[in-house]
């Protein structure tokens, strides 16, 4: 039933020094719907595609506010994300209680990273099957961190994870230089455009299947869904037909 003898558990190295169970866990992230995060000098934005199991069911939660200054977006096993988010909420509250300080994002990220690492070195445990984007603002300004099941965490300027997220990342790489100086609105639009890139041809961003989370300097993390994002969707994709051509120029016009 196994592909080889070395992928039964997370405590076995392959002869090449790989841990297959951990690599397989990373595949679970790619099963999840895409999420995107970007930071500017003043803001951090998360955007996500929500899935519903069937027409009449509700949509799966993709962005979870953790503390007033940050939130996470998840791709992969939602129940693993819930475990991690509960832990993050608890740790964030503890920081506010004992130090009267909002927990630094690097700190909370490394705490879940350490937890995740334990699951890759002990028999009887399995790696988390979820990837996270952690975005918000702390004493040192806006931050975006990526968390992977292996316990690898990295601070990013922009990032996309989940199904077909390579398309989103390509968009982000192409527009990388514009993020730092972007305004709040521009940043949200970039995130939505990146999200759109990863969508299959027949799908659209709607107020039902899209979530946006924003935090800024002096602005708490807030989750936007439903009618709250109507305006963003309309203004981001107003000239949908001429999308490709208008993209670059359109933003120049916004600036002036």
């Amino acid at each position: 039933m196994f592909r080889n003898n070395y992928d039964n558990d997370s405590v076995t190295f392959s002869p090449q020094g790989r841990i297959f169970q951990v690599e397989y866990a990373s595949e679970a992230v790619k099963q999840g719907s895409v999420v995107v995060g970007i930071v500017s000098k003043t803001h951090a934005v998360l955007a996500a595609i929500k899935r519903n199991a069937e027409e009449l069911s509700s949509y799966q939660k993709k962005i979870i506010p953790i503390d007033s200054h940050y939130g996470i977006a998840l791709a992969g096993l939602a129940s693993d994300a819930r475990v991690l988010s509960n832990f993050m909420k608890q740790q964030s509250l503890a920081s506010r209680l004992t130090y009267d300080r909002a927990i630094p994002l690097s700190e909370i990220t490394s705490r879940i990273a350490d937890r995740a690492q334990t699951n890759t070195q002990q028999y009887g445990k399995r790696p988390y099957g979820v990837g996270l984007l952690i975005a918000g603002v702390d004493a040192k300004g806006p931050h975006l961190f990526e968390f992977q099941p292996s316990g690898v965490t990295q601070e990013m300027v922009a990032c996309g994870i989940g199904a077909r997220s390579q398309m989103a990342r390509t968009y982000l790489e192409r527009n990388l230089d514009e993020f730092e100086g972007a305004s709040r609105e521009e940043l949200v639009k970039h995130a939505l455009r990146a999200l759109k890139e990863s969508l299959s041809q027949d799908k659209e961003l709607t107020i039902d299947n899209t979530s946006v989370g924003v935090a800024g300097v002096g602005e708490n993390f807030k989750l936007y869904e439903g009618s709250d994002i109507q305006n963003w969707l309309e203004t981001t994709f107003e000239n949908r037909e001429g999308d490709a051509a208008a993209e670059g120029e359109g933003m120049e016009v916004d600036d002036s």
Binding site: L97, T98, Y99, D100, R101, P104, S106, E107, A139, K140
Partner: protein, 260 residues
Amino acid sequence: MNHLPQAWGRPRDDVYGAYDASHLQTSGPQQHTQSPIVTGTSVVAVKFKDGVVIAADNLASYGSLARFTDVKRLRKFNSQVVVGFGGDVSDMQYLDRLLSSLDIRENYSTTETPLNAKNLHTYLSKVMYKRRSDFNPLWNHILVAGLEHENKPFLASVDLLGTTFSSPTLATGFGAHLAQPILRRVVPDEATVESVSREQAVALVKECMKVLFYRDARSLDKYSIAVVTKDGIDLKEDEKLESQSWAFAEGIRGYGTQVN
């Protein structure tokens, strides 16, 4: 007499009867610290427009004995906070080590903002309250002096019960009775802080240290004084009270050697 500690200095059993060991039994309710042993006395502090001045003398008393005369009771935390300890000296040393381990942890990352005085006071108040709730208090009264966000002067206290209190002027121990009124005469409220200069604040604290030395039998004329501003901490640990005048003692009945 035998070698056992409970027999040390005891009269001989054969003459005076056996030692009553009933109070040495290990059963019964568990007890923790019932009183401090080696103690430091007052800590005084006052805010001024750019920061805080804090002082404490260098004496550690063993009861009424002036046991150690070079004990530094003001402790720096990173480069922005000074913590002043009154009360039990060994508990102070424990807290000092606790703060040092916290400082080491905080310095693993050089990119994060350091804990400020307010953060530290919150932390200490949780430590103190936890210990009193365990019926095992750290027998100290602590002043935390430094700056909070936007470089605003910060001064607050926490005691062995975990009680917190903040005011533009603070003093622990004997100083709470003797120094606080003097401090309040100059800095009655938060609004006045803006008009107090560094020199005024230092002079005021020194005046308090002098009054405390005159009237507090567990005090010393060698003291430490620190000024915390946004430029850092200026800590002097070997100051001597200047221009003492004991002339006033003449007229006071029962003061010093004069009996009546």
